[in-house]
Each structure stands twice: as structure tokens, then as C-alpha cells.
Amino acid sequence: MRPPRVRLWVKLALFGVLGVAATHTLHLAVGRELATNALSKEQLARARDLGRLVAAQTTDSVLLEDQVALQQAVDRCATDPSVTWCFVERDGRVLASTFHEGTPSALVTLRRGPPAQTGPIIVRAAGRRYLDITAPILDGAGGAVRVGLDLAPIAQTREALGLYLGLVALVTIAVGVLAALLVGRGIARPVKELLEAADHFVPSQPGPLVPVHGNDEFAELTERFNEMMTRLRAAHEAHEASVRKAASSERLVALGSLVAGVAHEVNNPLAGLKNVQAALRKGALSPERQSEYIELMGEALARIESIVGRLLEFGRPRPLALKPHTPRELVDDVLRLLGPAARQRGVSLVRAGDVTASEPVHADRVQLGQALTNLVLNALYVTPKGGAVRLRAVARPGWRGIAVEDDGPGIPPELRERVLDPFFSTKPEGEGTGLGLSVTRTIVDAHRGELAFDFPSSGGTVATIWLPLAAAS
């Protein structure tokens, strides 16, 4: 089963949205971390600088035991808003401190070893976090300055940054989605136009070309598509012209063969007539011979008349006089008409199978009789002496048929296609006009029937005329 179709522009848009969203989520996370790390490092550097500065400032005061100057130095340090505490300790004693009530002993002893901690320490106290750094005075011999920085501003900045970056990311994602939709649509539109053009393309009819937008790959594709449509139309026109030409030449060929057939058929009696007429002109003929010749002339003329008559019949069928007839009636007509001829040729012409079917078909008794006659004559012609031609009534739903089966050699496969062509004949010249089956076909068509040929593997030919049941027609 084909999976449900997802539009190209939807895929592109989804891809774009995913890309933008993923990139910005990453940017958000990484950027926020980088920024807050930079802030943390900055804060640490600031605390260290402050500590070093206070240590440098208080070295003399520590050595000179100048309590006032020491206190001034730590108080000055604490004027920085991010500084929560600043004190000077030496051997566990606090020499000056911003904790005016007394410095928490846990803080004073925080870095006591062994080994003594000299790196930055995060101090958690009363639910808040502080960065505690220490800066030695006289390499530790003069004690150390301790500075505590409140980390809450960093946390707040971090949150603010997250919010800000999040907003930026949202806006960017929204813009990205819009851009992806627009780009997706932009790509899908020419494809859609091409699809519509392909759907409505009829090679035999002139149609509009697909408009070309811009000069990108799609424009190129559209141009090629238009060129292809133009080529297809031209090819189709050429094909039509050649078909028309072929049809006309076919007609010419058919006309040629028709004329040739007629000429040939007429030529023999004409030659006879000419001879007889020459003999009569000499006048030295006995009256018996004279009357014989006149008789011959009549026969020849009758033959020509018959040829021309059949030709006319071929070209211009008469209107049908349709009446209900049972197949049995039609078969009997033929048996009566051709029984003598069959006996003369030593071939038995018989009814076969159940032809008692009483359901009538609409038929012009005379014309259909002629059609059947043609089939039976052909069958008699090919059936060797001692053989049989069988007339069989056949049936299929809505149809009744009369099959003419012969014991002849059948028709070679390469000729089967041509049996219905006018003037096609396998008989020696002078024995057939080649119009028989054509006429039969014309009559059957006029009855809205079907003419079918079967070639059983056992040999012979079965020609069947199918007619619709009278009730059905």
C-alpha cells in the first residue's frame, strides 16, 4: 500500500522548522551556559582581584597592627554591592571584619586544614550561595583576606538570560517557520503548475505553456517541460498526418484491387463475346450454331451483369426487411437451395446438432439467406468429395447462431486476417469474385450481428453468423 502522500512543501517546512528549532534549542542551552560561565568566571576574577587589592592595602596595617586602617579597608571592600563579607584573619583570629557583631566561626574555620584550602569555595548558608575566596597577606605570614560574593545576582542574571534567549529563540523559530513555509510554498508552486499542465496535456489540442518564474532550476525544468510538450504536439501532428496518408493509400490500394478484380472478371466473358461476335459477323454459321452462339452471348452478358450486380450489392446494401425467423427456417432455406449443388459435388450437406431451437431472431430472410449461401458455397468448395458440410444451430446468452462447418483444409494463419477483404479469394481465377465474404460481412453487420471464424485443431473451418435474439433486440 502506498504511504499517505506528504506534500513537498510540508516536508520542507517541517525540515526547516526542525532545523531552526534544534539549532536554537542548542544555541539557547549552549549560549546560556557560556554566558553564565563567563559571568561566573568574571565574578571569580573580580572576587580574586578584590581580595588581592584588599590584601595589598592591608599588608602595612596588619604589620603595624593598625586596627582602624584594617577596618576601613574591609568596609571599603564591602561597599561593592556583590560583596557580602570581607574580613582579615590571622592564625584563627579575626583582625577586622564586615561582620560587626562577630564573624561566624564556621566561616573563619572553613579553610582550616590540613591541608588548608586556598581555592574558591562555594558556601551555602541560609539557603543562599556565596563564593568565598582567600587572598594571602605576605604569602600567608600576615594572615589572609577573605571575600564572600553573593551568587544570587548571577543566578538572577542566568534566569534573565534564559528568559531573554528563550524569547529570542521563540521569535527566531516563529520567523524560521514562516520562512520555511514560504520557501516550501515557493518550491511547491512550480511543481504544482507542472503537475496541472501534465494532467491537462492533450497532444492533439493546442494548450497554454507553463509560465516560467525566475531563472532557478525550477525555471529550467519548466522550460524543458514546455519544450517537451511542444515536441509531443508536433510529433502527434506528424503521426496523424502519416495515418491520414496511410488511410488514403489503403483506400487507393483497395480501389485498385477492386477495379483489377472487376476488370479480370469482366474480361473473360468479354473475350467470349468478342469471339462470338466475330463469328457471327462472318455469317457462315449454321442456324444451330448461331443460336448456340447467341445463347453463349446471353450467358456472357448475364455473367457480366451478375458481376456488376454483386459489385453494386457490395457498395450499396439494400435496406433490410427484418422479420422474426427461427434459425431452423433459415437453415432449411439454404438446404433446399444448395442441396442439389452439394449432391452434384459429392458432398453431403446436413443439419447437425439441435437446430430445433424455436426462439426467433430478427432477420431479412433473403439477405441472410444469401449470406449463409455464400458461407455454404465456400464450405462446399473446399470440402473434398465424400466430405460433409454441417449446418449447426448454436446458442449463447442473448444470441443465436448458425455455424457452417466444413471438412476442408482450413485457412492458413497468414491469410486468416484477409478473408473479409473484398475480392480476396483462394479460388482459382474465374471461379470466385472474392466478394462473397465481404458481402456476407456487410449483411451480418447490417443485422447488428457478428461473423466469427474458428479453426478447430481437428481441421476444417467453422464460420458462424451470430444474431441477437429477437426478444433482446
Binding site: 561566573s40 604589620l63 586596627q67 579575626v94 572553613l110 558556601v123 551555602r124
Partner: protein, 311 residues
């Protein structure tokens, strides 16, 4: 591999890269975190105090506190080991404060300046010189008048109406001698200079001249030589235009009413300092060869000068 598999591979790789980038970016500086209660005990601000049983030694601020510390902390530690007595080093901004500590009994031994010693004598305090350092074979030193190298001054008189740096009002070399020298020329030392400052240490005075902050200064010759030897650039930046006569070197003193055993042990420790390699190294660092007992009359000229200058 189907198209889905390929996509999955791409997705996995992209995810791995993203994770790596995020991880490297997220690595915050890792500091130990400690929970601390501020509700526990409080440590009050305590003044500096020596440990129990320690003898306190004050060193007058001839050098800046930091330099004094680096020059004397190890010396005192060594003496403490030799004497088997804990010693603590104390400093004060002025010579007068150091003298006060000694006089009020809060200090046992003092490395005073010659001027400070003279002031103690002038006040009638029972001061005993425990030992005096010997530098370049002498128990004396000189006061130097220095000017910036670019200065046109060639004698003290050329500095009239200029900016001048004194060391301390009880300093012989840094205050009393130049004042006395000006007075010798019949001038009023209080009006001779346009502006004068007290820098409270000789090295600060020397630097002030080198940097052109003042037009001249009076400094301890021993300290000047020591500082210039360590920092030749400083020597090129200043010029000596006057040298005093030889004056008694700053002594190590104690009050006679103090613990006699401590005085004795301290003196012995100082006098025998040059007998060990470690002691000699410490003496060299301080610019001395050894400690000695003062010869009689060593401080006569100093006392004369101080007598004229002190109010």
C-alpha cells in the same frame, strides 16, 4: 542500509555532536561546596597579640613595614630558636610609637633608630644598648642628602624653597641631621623647604626622589647603599649631594627595668649571631657583618645633634 537507517545514523551523529558541545559548554568551574551555619559561634575582632610567654620585639620603621618584615621576621625566628624564647615582631608607623611601646612596658626589646634612642635618653628613660650592628667594619652610618639625577642641586643650600622628604620626626639621619645642617647655615629649618613630608621610611623617601615626587630627601646611608645594590636603576635615578659625618648606628635597646635574663640572652644571641652560617646569612640579608657592644662615645655626636633639634 535503508533510507531510514541512514537518517537514524545522521541523527545519532548530530545528537552526539550536540551533546558534546553542550557538555563542554556546560562545564562550570568546579569548586567545592560547603554548607555553613551562620548561627554558630561568633569570632569577635581581636587585636594583634603575642602568644603567652612570648617576648615582644619592636622594629622602628626605618624601612617600609613590608620590607622590615622581610628583613627581620627570619632574624627574630632564628634568635628565638637560639634563645629558646618565643619572640614576636611588632611594628609601628612612627619611631615615637615604638618608643612608647618600650616605655610603657608592652615591648621587651626594640630595634630603634639612633634618633629614637636619643629621644629615650633625653626623656631620662633607663635605656640599655644590648648590641649594635657592625656594617663594613663600622658601628656608624651617615645621613645622605639625595636629589633626582636630573636635578641641578649640588649642595643642601640649593634645595632652599624646594619640596623635601623627611623620614620621621625622631629620625636622626632622616630628619634631625638635615634640620641641624640647615640650622648650621643660620637658616630656619622649618621655613627652608617650601614643602616637606614625613614618609615614615627611608626606602619610601628614596623612591619619592627617584620618581621626582620631591626635589630632595635625607636618608639613612646604610639603607640607601643596600637598596641601590639591590636595585641599580634606583641608584641611577638619584644623586647624593651631601654626606653627614659618621654617626652612631641605630642600636638594639631594652629598658633596664625589664627582665634581666631576657636582656642577657638577647644580647648573647645577637653577639654570637655571626658564629653560625645561618646567622651570617641572616646578617648578610640585613646588610650587617655582626653585632657588637658599642664603643664608648659612639652616640655623642648624635646626641648633640638631637639635643639641638628636639623641641
Amino acid at each position: 542500509m535503508g533510507p531510514l537507517g541512514r537518517w537514524r545514523t545522521v541523527a545519532v551523529h548530530a545528537g552526539a555532536v550536540a551533546l558534546a558541545v553542550t557538555w563542554s559548554a556546560c562545564r562550570s568551574p568546579e569548586f567545592p561546596e560547603v554548607e555553613v551555619s551562620f548561627d554558630g559561634g561568633l569570632v569577635p575582632v581581636a587585636a594583634e597579640s603575642a602568644g603567652p610567654g612570648a617576648a615582644r620585639v619592636v622594629v622602628a620603621a626605618m624601612l617600609s613595614p613590608e620590607d622590615t618584615y622581610s628583613a627581620y621576621a627570619q632574624l627574630l625566628a632564628h634568635l628565638s630558636r637560639e634563645m629558646n624564647v618565643p619572640l614576636s615582631l611588632t611594628q609601628r608607623r612612627s619611631y615615637r610609637e615604638a618608643n612608647e611601646l618600650l616605655v610603657t612596658g608592652r615591648i621587651d626589646v626594640a630595634f630603634v633608630c639612633t634618633g629614637g634612642y636619643a629621644e629615650l635618653l633625653a626623656r631620662g628613660e633607663p635605656v640599655e644598648v644590648l648590641a649594635v650592628p657592625v656594617a663594613r667594619g663600622e658601628m656608624t652610618y651617615r645621613s645622605l642628602i639625595i636629589v633626582p639625577a636630573s636635578s641641578s642641586a649640588t649642595q643642601l643650600a640649593d634645595l632652599a624653597g624646594r619640596r623635601f622628604a623627611f623620614t620621621d620626626e625622631l629620625s636622626l639621619s632622616g630628619y634631625a641631621y638635615p634640620s641641624w645642617a640647615v640650622r648650621q647655615q643660620g637658616l630656619d629649618p622649618k621655613r627652608f623647604f617650601a614643602v616637606s613630608y614625613f614618609t615614615h621610611s627611608h626606602d619610601r623617601s628614596i623612591r619619592a626622589v627617584a620618581q621626582g615626587l620631591v626635589d630632595g630627601a635625607a636618608v639613612d646611608g646604610l639603607i640607601f647603599d643596600e637598596l641601590v645594590a639591590r636595585n641599580p636603576g634606583l641608584g641611577r635615578a638619584v644623586r647624593v649631594i651631601h654626606r653627614s659625618e659618621a654617626l652612631g648606628i641605630p642600636p638594639v635597646v631594652a629598658l633596664k627595668r625589664g627582665d634581666p635574663a631576657l636582656r642577657r640572652r638577647f644580647r648573647e644571641a645577637l653577639l654570637s649571631l655571626h658564629e653560625t652560617e645561618a646567622g651570617r646569612a641572616l646578617l648578610r640579608a640585613a646588610g650587617f657583618e655582626r653585632f657588637s657592644t658599642p664603643r664608648p662615645g659612639l652616640y655623642d655626636s648624635a646626641l648633640t645633634i638631637m639635643g639641638e633639634v628636639l623641641p
